[in-house]
C-alpha cells in the first residue's frame, strides 16, 4: 500500500466528515428499536406472527383493537392518575425539604441528607412485604383500604420518588441567589412566606423538571404495583403483558400498546426537556 499524500487540513476534514457519518449511524442504531416499535404497531397481527412486513401499507387496526382485546383503558387511566398525583406530591414535599437542605443549617441536616440517599440503597423487595402487611393491618384495625387502591399506590410512589426529587430540588435552589429572599425578609416577609412567594415562583422550571423526573420513574414502576394491586389499581406494566398470553399472540396490538404507553412520557419529557437536562447534569457535574 502506498500512503496517499494528503495535506493535514484535508486529512482533518476527512476525519471530521467520517465522524459526522459515524454520529448519524450511531443515532440511527439507537433509534432503530423505537422505529421498529412504531413500524410494527402499524402492521396486522397475522403479518407479525409470520414475520412478513409491509411497511408501505400501514394500518391503524391495532390501535383500534387494543382497547377491546383487554381493558387497556383501565390500566392507562390508573397509570395516569397514580403517576400524576404521586409526582405532584413528591415534588411538593421535595421542594420544601430540598429548600431546607439548600438554605438552612440545622441539627440533623446531615443525617437527613444521608438518609435520603440511604433510601436508594434498600432493595424494593426488602420493604415490599412489610408495606403489604402494613396495608393489611390498616384494613383490619383502622378500616382503611389501601391494598388495590389508587390512594395506596399514590402513597407508596410519593414516598419512593421523594428522595430523588429532594436532591433535584436542592440543586435548583442552590442555583437561586440568596439576595431574593433576604430582600423579601427585609421587607417584612417571614422566611416561610419568602419561600412561598419569592423562591418558589423563581424555582418554577426546577419544580417542572422535578415533577417530570418523578413522573418518568413512577410510570416505569412494576414491582410494587404487581404486589399491591390485583384489579382496581393495576397500571400499564401489568396490563401490557396480557396481549401475549397462552392463547393470544396479538403482537401488533402489543406494539401499539407500547406506543400508547410511551407517548405520555415522551410528551412530558419534551415539555420540560431543557430544565430536565439541566437538573440531571447539574446534579451530576457537581457530584
Amino acid at each position: 500500500m502506498t500512503a496517499i499524500a494528503l495535506s493535514p487540513r484535508t486529512r482533518k476534514r476527512l476525519i471530521n466528515r467520517g465522524l459526522d457519518v459515524l454520529t448519524w449511524l450511531v443515532l440511527a442504531l439507537m433509534l432503530a428499536p423505537v422505529f421498529w416499535l412504531v413500524a410494527s404497531s402499524l402492521q396486522n397481527d397475522g403479518q407479525l406472527a409470520r414475520g412478513s412486513y409491509d411497511l408501505l401499507h400501514p394500518t391503524f387496526q391495532a390501535f383500534r383493537d387494543m382497547w377491546k382485546t383487554i381493558d387497556f383503558e383501565r390500566y392507562f387511566v390508573n397509570s395516569a392518575i397514580i403517576c400524576t398525583v404521586a409526582a405532584l406530591l413528591a415534588t411538593a414535599f421535595a421542594s420544601t425539604a430540598g429548600y431546607a437542605l439548600a438554605r438552612f443549617r440545622f441539627r440533623g441536616a446531615r443525617p437527613f441528607g444521608l438518609a435520603v440517599i440511604g433510601t436508594q440503597l434498600v432493595p424494593g423487595s426488602m420493604f415490599l412485604l412489610p408495606v403489604f402487611i402494613g396495608f393489611l393491618w390498616l384494613k383490619q384495625n383502622v378500616g382503611i383500604q389501601l391494598y388495590d387502591t389508587r390512594v395506596g399506590m399514590i402513597i407508596v410512589y410519593t414516598a419512593f420518588f421523594t428522595p430523588v426529587a429532594i436532591y433535584f430540588m436542592r440543586s435548583f435552589f442552590q442555583g437561586i441567589p440568596r439576595d431574593l429572599e433576604e430582600a423579601a425578609q427585609v421587607d417584612g416577609c417571614t422566611p416561610f412566606w419568602a419561600f412561598v412567594r419569592i423562591v418558589l415562583p423563581n424555582a418554577a422550571p426546577g419544580l417542572m423538571a422535578t415533577f417530570v423526573y418523578a413522573f418518568l420513574f413512577a410510570w416505569d414502576e412494576l414491582l410494587f404495583v404487581a404486589a399491591l394491586t390485583e384489579h382496581n389499581a393495576e397500571t400499564l406494566p401489568l396490563g401490557i403483558r396480557l396481549f401475549i398470553g397462552n392463547y393470544s399472540q396479538y403482537y401488533g396490538q402489543l406494539m401499539a400498546a407500547g406506543v400508547i404507553s410511551t407517548i405520555p412520557v415522551v410528551l412530558a419529557f419534551f415539555a420540560a426537556q431543557r430544565w430536565l437536562v439541566r437538573g440531571i447534569t447539574a446534579g451530576a457535574v457537581k457530584g
Binding site: T119, P123, F127
Partner: protein, 316 residues
C-alpha cells in the same frame, strides 16, 4: 424605609434562632413518608428475615415464630437445599448482568458523548433524539426487545442472518445461555442516553485551554484523552458507577416482563429470585433474608466505592 440601616451581621443569628424550627417543618412531610414507607418497612423486612414466615404462619404476621439465622444458613450454606443453588445462581447472574450493563453503559455513553461533543450540522437535533431510548419505559423496552429477539421472525435474526449473513445459523435468544444477553443489551440500550448526557455535560465544562496547550506541546488525541479528558471526568464516572451498579443489581422489570416470574437459570437475577420465592412460593422469611443479603452486598460495594473515589468527592 427607615434611613437608619441595622448592621446586617447581628441580625442574622437572631433571625436564625427565631425560625430555628422552620427547617424541621419543611422536611417533615418528606420525613414522614420516608419513615412509614422506607425506614419502618425496611426494619420490618429485616425482622421477617429472622422468622419462620411462610404460607402456614402468614396469619400471624410479625407474630410468626423466630427462626434465628436459619433462613440465611439455608440459602448460603445448606447445599442440600435446592434454593441454595438457586440463590447462588441468581447472585452470580446478577454480578454478570451488573458488570456488563454498567461497563457497556459507561463506555458506550462516553464514546457517544465524545462523538456529540463536536461541531456538526444538526448536532442539537442529534443530541435531543439520542435521549429517546431513555424515555421509553422499561416494560415497553422489554416487550419490544422480546419481540425483536424472536428466533424465527424477530428483526434481530432477520438482520444478522437473512439480510447481512453475519451469522450462519439462527441463534435462540430467549432460551438458554443467550438469555443473559437478551436482558443485558436492552438494558445498555436504555441506559446509554443518560450516561451520554452526563458525560457530554462534563466534556462541555472542561476548559478548552488545557486541550489546546497539550496539543501545542505535541500530545496526540489519544494522549490528550488519556491524560486530560479522562481524569477530569473521574467524578462523573464515580457517581455513575455508584448508582449504576445499585440500579443494575436491583433490576427487576426487564427480566420479569420478558420472561415472567421465572427467567430460567441463565437470566434469573436476585430481584426475580427474591420476588418469586416470596410471592409465588410463599417463602417470605427466606425472601427477606435474601433481600438483606442483597442489601449487604450493596453496602460492601458502597464501602469499596468510597475508598476508591474518596479523593474525587473532596474535589467536587
Amino acid at each position: 424605609m427607615s434611613q437608619r440601616r441595622l448592621p446586617r451581621e447581628p441580625r442574622r443569628p437572631g433571625r436564625r434562632r427565631r425560625n430555628s424550627r422552620l427547617p424541621y417543618w419543611l422536611i417533615a412531610p418528606a420525613l414522614l413518608f420516608m419513615l412509614f414507607v422506607h425506614v419502618l418497612p425496611a426494619i420490618g423486612g429485616f425482622v421477617l428475615s429472622l422468622k419462620k414466615f411462610n404460607l402456614f404462619t402468614f396469619r400471624e404476621l410479625f407474630g410468626a415464630p423466630w427462626n434465628g439465622l436459619d433462613n440465611y444458613r439455608s440459602i448460603l450454606l445448606d447445599s442440600d437445599n435446592p434454593l441454595h443453588n438457586g440463590f447462588w445462581g441468581a447472585a452470580s447472574n446478577t454480578a454478570v448482568y451488573t458488570f456488563w450493563t454498567v461497563a457497556g453503559t459507561l463506555v458506550g455513553g462516553l464514546a457517544i458523548a465524545l462523538l456529540l461533543n463536536r461541531k456538526m450540522r444538526g448536532i442539537r437535533v442529534v443530541r435531543t433524539l439520542m435521549l429517546v431510548p431513555w424515555i421509553v419505559p422499561s416494560y415497553v423496552v422489554a416487550v419490544l426487545w422480546s419481540f425483536m429477539w424472536q428466533s424465527d421472525v424477530g428483526i434481530v435474526n432477520k438482520v444478522l442472518v437473512d439480510y447481512t449473513h453475519v451469522l450462519g445459523h439462527r441463534p435462540v435468544w430467549l432460551l438458554g445461555s443467550n438469555t443473559m444477553w437478551a436482558i443485558v443489551i436492552p438494558s445498555i440500550w436504555r441506559g446509554l442516553p443518560l450516561a451520554m448526557l452526563i458525560f457530554l455535560a462534563g466534556l462541555q465544562a472542561q476548559p478548552q485551554e488545557l486541550h489546546e496547550a497539550a496539543a501545542i506541546d505535541g500530545a496526540g488525541p489519544w494522549r490528550r484523552f488519556r491524560h486530560i479528558t479522562l481524569p477530569l471526568l473521574r467524578p462523573l464516572i464515580a457517581v455513575q458507577l455508584l448508582f449504576g451498579v445499585i440500579y443494575a443489581a436491583y433490576q427487576f422489570a426487564i427480566p420479569t416482563v420478558m420472561f415472567g416470574t421465572n427467567p430460567g437459570p441463565d437470566a434469573d437475577l436476585m430481584m426475580t429470585f427474591i420476588v418469586r420465592q416470596s410471592f409465588s412460593n410463599s417463602l417470605y422469611g427466606l425472601g427477606a433474608a435474601a433481600s438483606t443479603l442483597l442489601m449487604l452486598a450493596m453496602l460492601v460495594w458502597v464501602a469499596i466505592w468510597y475508598r476508591a473515589f474518596r479523593r474525587d468527592l473532596e474535589v467536587t
